[in-house]
Symmetry: C3
Subunit: 366 residues, 3 copies
């Protein structure tokens, strides 16, 4: 097996984003920073419409026809079940056939082939590549490889390296929007917009250094002035300086800490994460008392009534199962939101988002 | 990998069944004992209609639209190809998209997650979980877990532990119905009903202790007074006392034996099974002369003309390949019946069985 | 795991072909030699129509309905990703549901089962078996097994042993047709026919002894009088005598050599292959200087302007990546052609080729 050490592209983020989507051939989704507030909210509204349209049999059958003429490849070299199933369910919602490659080693044909060639071959059969890969920057590299092919197709980053997981960040923001700006009437145009994040305290708890979902979500929340970020973690696993620098640059108020219990009552949202010890090089996590970064049953008495508890899952012991029964537990809904958001994103990439809006307005809105 | 020791629910069977399907939210298929005679025959008639409707291109395309708006998850942790493909083919017959998890160990995400959480996550993406699992009682536990979620979805037991395999039992009964009460006119409403089992001798042969298909089928046959059951096996692999107790309680005539050759001529159906030595703890099967429990070519001269030979497959040497050419060999049809019965069951669970009946009557029956 | 030593059927090729497709029940695709010139060109024209129809959303949706009422099984026991994805994409183009078995060892059910029984079981659930297998002759054996079942379904050889890979040969010929007889007007009936191969020099380069794609393509090219074949390889890896005998019998001019550099300028097509060292028994390839059989950047100055470079992929170092940018590089198109040709072949097998022709003529041709 050939694994290349793929480095993130050089240059600042703005230059990298500009280089990705040159002209208007295709829209690659690689970095959370690609999404400005307008795009985020457009996608949240679209996700909400997909959800509501899918609530009826008639609507589901409409969605099922939307992308039956395109095919997706899930190139998931890094083991994953949750994200994989979320994307496949999103494809199924849109009636988009897909196939997958889950392991490089299963194929003797692939053995001895460069990963670049694998991507080139895949681009011949499919109209979209969704990539999940252990190498940082691999999604970005793939986008550039595809841009060089005569027949360019879009790529979606389904998580690469320790760096980025932009679709998780989108679904997290969508979940927060639904919590902070709930909409009661299912028949009215969803109005995710404005800034319901202003004045809200969002705490990130746990292994913030290696949790790429936290990193990607922090980028998106910086679009919302007035939000306050709390980073609560063991000192050796605090959030990266690059993120803090980004947060400061956007004038977002933040605080570092390591005492979850003391701050629980201040939070409007708590984003729990597990210890990512699979990235340990020399067992360095073993010395950490991770119990101090667990949300426990006895903390529930301090919860705000409309607190939103999120978790990208899987959970271990940092999130007490007894909390599942509370209205503040939003992590199962968060899972499901991933499916709707990914369907919305794919619909957007293939320019069928207008068809969804039209359908929604014809049948539901007034 | 976390494997829990899941115990079957406490309480008698009636209480367990009542606990499973409370209210009328969803219909979980967990135990063979859930199926009374009326339900069995309703499903056999429905399976027969699916088969006949699927015989035309027009009918197949009708079926293909039925469940395109639902998605199934095949959570098949215990290795299986045959049952897996049977269920996927059934989903395809109904146009129902599906996905699968075949191994817990393939996913680093899942590592460290409780299996309960896995089930909870799956319930967010899918509308049906079909579970096959090495742990006894896991399907039942899953049904209860799902009943506790705000969005309950049904579960089908695709084989769990050594205990139960209810869909195999349903397809076996369907196969026997087709043998004992064959219907010549494909255009007439299938009339599986009555009691064609009365006065018939059904022999179970082989490893009856560990063959869960035998256990499940025995439960169903007890619905038919007048059937005679023969359990022919090595003494140390005889059918469990719990089954015999059930048989007696239902006033079904039965006999234990170990001489297949002597009884072949008495049988109306012979249900062959292989030696399930993968359950051996200390190689205890090695001392058994399993050849004595094989159906051989030279026995064919004693077969009744309308004998039905069944086998849940895979076979080894206990069923001579030369018998395949005889009209008494029903095991390939039995395989195919599994697809029709599972399609019927899924259609029933999602309340599209009436649509199938309507279609059948409009086009075929008079 | 039981692996049988399956021998190719006895008898000459004509007898083998005649034995395969007796009566007109089903059309098995097992050997490249089954395809005469008329059939090859019919399939090339059909592949071209599929490609053009699939270029519009409307056309794709038409194709998507064609085989929604049939199901394919990809029984791919020999590891493969490229051919697997090509066939699945072809199925998706035609809207044909499929499933796959990729490893015999994943299934405890299958353990202890003969591979013949596995095929028999698969034939109960599916309408087509596409088989890829390490054992030479396995596709042929499967065809005969299926012919013996009451419900016969067709088989397609997706590569078996070192012997044959007929669908690869078909896509290679299709690619050469598109290079040698390009057609500019997408709206006119594709006219692959005649003999654009006459007077053309096609070089096969590399490991010709063990490259089954070369063997299968050589059979097809012998249908075209006037083509010249160059076999350029290390002496110990030259093309088999059986192929040379076949070539001579068809009065095709050929030449054996080992100096690629000297002959590059004479070629109208160069078919590169990698060293197939996975078939080595005792590392015999290690002594070969395979660099002498590589197409390098400095050779490009000698290329004919309309040279076609093909490669069945994966490539290693025998084909310089910098050549990708040249118009002579046809190997990515060749990958894509595989999808169209396989879709055409499956459409032909299920007698929906006329529907494609009708659609094409109604919408595109004049």
């Amino acid at each position: 097996m050939i694994t290349q050490t793929v480095k993130p592209a050089a240059g600042d983020t703005a230059a990298r984003i500009a280089a990705l989507n040159r002209g208007d051939r295709v829209f690659h989704v690689v970095l959370a920073q690609q999404f400005d507030r307008e795009r985020i909210e457009q996608l949240c509204r679209l996700a909400e419409m997909v959800r509501r349209v899918a609530a009826t049999r008639h609507g589901t059958q409409f969605l099922n026809t939307l992308l039956s003429y395109r095919r997706a490849m899930l190139y998931f070299i890094q083991p994953s079940t949750r994200t994989f199933l979320s994307f496949t369910a999103a494809c199924q919602v849109l009636g988009m056939p897909y196939n997958s490659v889950r392991e490089r080693s299963t194929s003797s044909e692939i053995k001895g082939e460069s990963e670049d060639d694998t991507v080139r071959v895949l681009s011949q059969y499919f109209h979209l590549i969704i990539i999940r890969h252990p190498a940082e920057g691999m999604a970005e590299r793939t986008a550039h490889l595809l841009n060089e092919m005569p027949r360019t197709i879009p790529v979606i980053n389904g998580g690469s390296g320790k760096d980025q997981h932009p679709t998780q960040a989108l679904l997290d923001v969508y979940t927060l929007f639904r919590c902070f700006a709930p909409q009661r009437d299912e028949h009215v145009d969803p109005e995710y917009g404005g800034n319901p994040f202003a004045g809200r305290t969002v705490a990130f708890v746990g292994d913030l250094q290696r949790g790429r979902t936290v990193r990607s979500l922090a980028y998106l929340l910086c679009r919302y002035p007035g939000v306050r970020l709390l980073f609560i973690s063991p000192p050796q696993l605090q959030i990266g300086d690059d993120i803090l620098e980004y947060v400061r640059r956007h004038d977002i108020e933040y605080e570092l800490g390591d005492d979850l219990r003391a701050r629980v009552g201040d939070c409007d949202a708590i984003y729990m994460t597990r210890l990512q010890d699979e990235w340990d090089v020399a067992g360095e996590s073993k010395s950490i008392d991770y119990n101090r970064y667990a949300l426990t049953w006895d903390m529930a008495k301090d919860f705000k009534p409309d607190l939103a508890i999120l978790h990208p899952l899987p959970r271990r012991h940092e999130l007490d199962q007894r909390l599942d029964a509370l209205p503040q537990a939003k992590y199962w809904e968060q899972v499901r939101n991933g499916m709707w958001m990914r369907a919305a994103l794919i619909a957007f990439i293939f320019n069928v988002d207008n068809a969804i809006r039209d359908h929604f307005h014809s049948y539901y809105a007034y």
